[in-house]
Point group: C2
Chain length 342, copies 2
DNA sequence: CTGAAAGCGCTTACAG
DNA sequence: CTGAAAGCGCTTACAG
């Protein structure tokens, strides 16, 4: 076993000072070519690599980004991480990932942990519980200490920082309107409880689309699901008790469960009931019928979030309080769970 | 903006030495109760938290684990990360994630990066390219420097270290044998190219099952897929040109593509062709028909890998060269793409 | 051209 | 009981 070599050891071997070694390796013109080359050769031979922790301490920069997300076993979030990773890597940054498991406490603990020197900035999406409690002190605190934060997808207006989102309201509006334009009138909505920001916005888009097309809101057609694992009985009731011609589901899982339930109840999809989902993940593509859905490009969101964060990290004026909210465009992906929508 | 407070600042404010502050905060009995309490109160007030980078440098321990995987947008790997994260978090470790994108170079770069002080040990799964080139010098090097490595899923015998795997050969054998036991005779195999270790092992299990049941190997029934994106034409040929009664696919994507292709060619699944997959992810569950498959519990693999790594990190005898290969059990998940298998 | 010193933020053996 | 010193591995302004 040969431990990693340090400047000190090189200095000793070569009988020069640590400073000389350091400068040589950084190609300083202060040092004579002679010793410079000698040191470099030696360093190369022993495969010297600077200790990044020491550099971090010295520079007060870690070149790593902290990511805090509710879950990783969730295609959309995995996609965003991938997007972040790629631009981060390109620019020489590493990525620390922490999962909040939708828990406020874990989100707080993880943030405080990472804020103690481990990272230069955060990219995060709020946990459900945090959104419910509306307690964002941990985030404000971090920002207050001068550490930039970029929020994506599940964001809040209560914190001033850069954000990357899609226009959930508009995308939902367009999806529902395209159902209406194709003759649908009894449109069910499967959505989340209201405290989930994106769920709420998508619900609002649904409502707006109906109203602006002269269709009154019927609360019987709307179900708000708290616990995704037990949603199928609620969905079954929704379908059985109402003579729906279509359903808008605010995520993939709700959409695929709606399809499975409808099929089980002997409805044909899309002939009897058309179904539109939200978020274009694996399921939408491989379900039968495959699911017409609103694509939400996680890679792009991740790319953008990383760009924004790194830009802020590397910008000169530290105290730029001009926060940007970047809206990533969405579009409708036509598949088999609806008739072809005009 | 109020920057994070340091020992130095506290010392200055309270007009004591840095050592006294440090000791007080660590509840050292060396310090009088008086000053101890005073310091602690002050620290609490200013929300002092030790700088983890400084601690890392001092202790030569970062309390963070490096994870290197080929891709994150892949349910199985996301699952493993989740499993690692949870036990890591419990034991006070953080997790840095790097993606190799199936590239040897990126794998090497990422490992070298992290090995320079950022982490205490690695958990990794080999990139395809690395498996193809059979070049593992970067891994041996890291191990040689005294940094423990745990490999999972895509492992190699050429490196001595702890490993977490499933018995790919046996699981495949059992899957294929269960097809045979249910009267199947012309069993197609959709597998990867041989350099992918798990693909090769699963192929071997298939071969063994056939031979030990007196069925000769017919190479026409075996396709080895290099590029997953263009596999459907190969699969179409396989199904069209051979009178298969069943197919064993070594992963979910091959399985679902086989189902889609079979359906398109007007074969009924499972009546005309039964299909068994490998890896129980989202797709297997939501495909129609849902896919009978061999479950490979990523969470458990992640849990175990993290446990093994942390145990090694925290064990007394550094130089324990007793490496363990932990085999996680698999089982067959019966779904709709096969008849009920006895 | 080279090296000693100070410093990043911490801990701890040692002196007083 | 308190503090100065050394050290983790590095960089850099300064002195010689």
């Amino acid at each position: 076993m040969k431990r990693k070599v340090t400047l000190k050891q090189i200095a000793k071997e070569l009988d020069v000072s640590i400073s000389t070694v350091s400068k040589s390796l950084r190609d300083s013109s202060e040092i004579s070519e002679d010793t410079r080359l000698k040191v470099q050769a030696f360093a190369k031979l022993y495969n010297y690599k600077p200790n990044l922790i020491a550099l971090s301490l010295k520079n007060k920069k870690t070149k790593t980004i902290g990511i805090i997300i509710p879950e990783i076993v969730h295609h959309f979030f995995a996609t965003v991480i991938s997007g972040i990773e790629h631009v981060a890597n390109e620019k020489g940054y590493n990525v620390i990932v922490c999962l909040s498991d939708e828990s406020f406490d874990k989100e707080v603990i993880n943030m405080e942990m990472l804020a103690n020197g481990s990272i230069d900035g955060f990219i995060m999406s709020l946990s459900k519980e945090t959104q419910q409690r509306k307690d964002f002190h941990h985030i404000s605190e971090v920002i207050n200490q001068g550490m930039p934060v970029v929020m994506f997808d599940r964001v809040t207006n209560d914190v001033l920082c850069d954000k990357v989102i899609i226009d959930d309201n508009l995308a939902a509006y367009q999806a529902v309107e395209s159902l209406i334009n194709n003759g649908m009138k009894k449109i069910g909505l499967i959505t989340t409880v209201d405290y989930v920001s994106v769920g709420k916005l998508r619900t609002e888009g649904y409502v707006k689309a109906l109203l602006s097309n002269g269709i009154p809101i019927n609360n019987n057609l709307i179900i708000k699901i708290e616990d995704i694992d037990n949603c199928s009985s609620q969905i079954e009731e929704l379908i059985t008790n109402n003579d729906l011609d279509s359903i808008f589901a605010v995520n993939e899982l709700f959409a695929v469960t709606a399809i499975k339930t409808a099929k089980r109840l002997k409805f044909n999809v899309p002939e009897d009931i058309a179904i539109i989902g939200f978020t274009d993940g694996i399921i939408s593509n491989y379900s039968s019928p495959s699911i017409t859905t609103i694509s939400q490009n996680g890679i792009k969101m991740g790319n953008k979030a990383a760009q924004m964060l790194i830009e802020r990290l590397e910008s000169e004026d530290e105290e730029n309080e001009q926060y940007i909210t970047e809206v990533i465009e969405t579009h409708l992906v036509q598949r088999e769970s609806t008739p072809i929508l005009k």
